[in-house]
Amino acid sequence: MSEAATDEGVSEIDQEELVERYYQPLYHFGLSLSRNEADASDLVQQTFYKWAAKGHQLRDVSKVKTWLFTTLYRAFISRKRMDERFVASDENPELIEPLQVQPAVVEALDGATVLQALSRLEERYRAPVTLFYLQQHSYREIAEILEIPVGTVMSRLSRGKSELRTILTVSAERSQTKIVPMTRKENRG
């Protein structure tokens, strides 16, 4: 990204490139958080609106990406009136061994299954796990976006990924045995 820091902040960042680079991962983050296309789109709109209004105040050009994701996450939190991120007392800081998933589950994965599984994660895990899989951020950056310590990011990731594997495995078992047809509506082709 062509960009320049000035005394007035990062106003010389190439806006076009900024949009091109981040609107899709921001949407995917918003979709995973909100579990709703319309809300995800609104979150992205809100994020870029705030960028247009306040982005020039950002002094460190290297923080643009983190700023955008943090802004989207805060907008989501604000909408959900969710304050669990401030509650650390129930956090178990230990990392756990991931549940082993059979290769057949991996082969059967598709976009719908992944999005459904992410949407069924506990909210405290959904944000870090989604950011992990978007592959845009270091753990330190994820910690900045979610405003929690790096250690908490890692413990939530550890548990969230394990929970995700459980969901995927159960979904695959149900799909194979045809016991429960996922959450698909009957009238969908």
């Binding site: 949009v19 609107y23 296309e37 061994e97 299954t113 899989y133 550890s158």
Partner: protein, 243 residues
């Protein structure tokens, strides 16, 4: 470091992360074939999840909606003496105008990826941009959206009742999605995208299963078509028998 901790760390391993425990866990895996095999499987799953998440379709009108909001809200809530706001809006407009052209210089995407993404999208019961039982109205909407509107609907599909349409994006190109209701109450989805998107393309339908869905793809005129139905090959063939 015990084996459980090593596996926990390997599950979070990322190249370049400063935590020294990662390298220790990695070295343990390099010296333990069983652990290495476990880790390889773990990474394959992570890569598959990441790939599918990052490929989730993005609403086609997202950038345009953001621009409208940005311009409107800026003009009402901020001082007019901020030319950078207008410059930003102008640059975003440029992004809208020229964003599509970038794809022309990129490598052609794989048709299999397109097929998988489109099928996974309709599995999620997508909302439609236009709900209508009137095919000319649907075509009119698609024309106004500058999306493939003159798609050749197979005769047997055209006999079904349309229920609406939506425009999707795939690697920078518009994809038309028209949904029809089948006799059994389930849906048939027709996708149309520029033929030049793919190297792949045959006039006769080629069938491929995608989980419990069946797809058929073919080219006709300027477009590459994809039919997706839940069911077996016979369900798809029935809809293409006179094509």
């Amino acid at each position: 470091m015990d084996r459980t901790t090593i596996k926990a760390l390997l599950g979070l391993y990322r190249e370049g992360e400063p935590d020294a425990r990662f390298e220790e866990a990695k070295q343990a895996a390099e010296n333990d074939p069983e652990l290495a095999a476990w880790w390889a499987q773990e990474r394959a799953l992570d890569q598959a999840i990441a790939r599918h998440l990052q490929a989730a379709p993005v609403p086609r009108d997202l950038r345009a909606r953001r621009l409208r909001t940005s311009v409107n809200e800026s003009s009402t809530t901020h001082a007019l003496g901020r030319p950078w706001l207008y410059a930003a809006a102008a640059l975003v407009t440029l992004a809208l105008l020229f964003g599509l052209s970038r794809s022309a210089f990129q490598e052609k995407p794989l048709f299999a990826n397109y097929r998988d993404e489109m099928v996974s999208f309709v599995k999620l019961t997508p909302s439609l941009e236009l709900e209508s039982n009137n095919l000319p109205q649907i075509r009119s909407f698609l024309t106004s959206a500058n999306a493939p509107a003159d798609a050749q609907i197979p005769p047997e599909v055209a006999k079904l009742n349309p229920i609406g349409c939506r425009v999707l994006r795939f690697r920078g190109e518009d994809v038309t999605l028209i949904c029809f209701k089948r006799e059994d109450g389930r849906l048939a989805h027709i996708f149309a995208v520029k033929r030049s998107m793919f190297l792949h393309g045959a006039a006769k339908p080629e069938y491929a299963a995608a989980g419990d869905w069946m797809t058929a793809s073919w080219t006709n005129g300027d477009y590459n078509y994809l039919l997706a139905v839940q069911g077996d090959r016979a369900a798809a063939e029935q809809l293409l028998r006179d094509s």
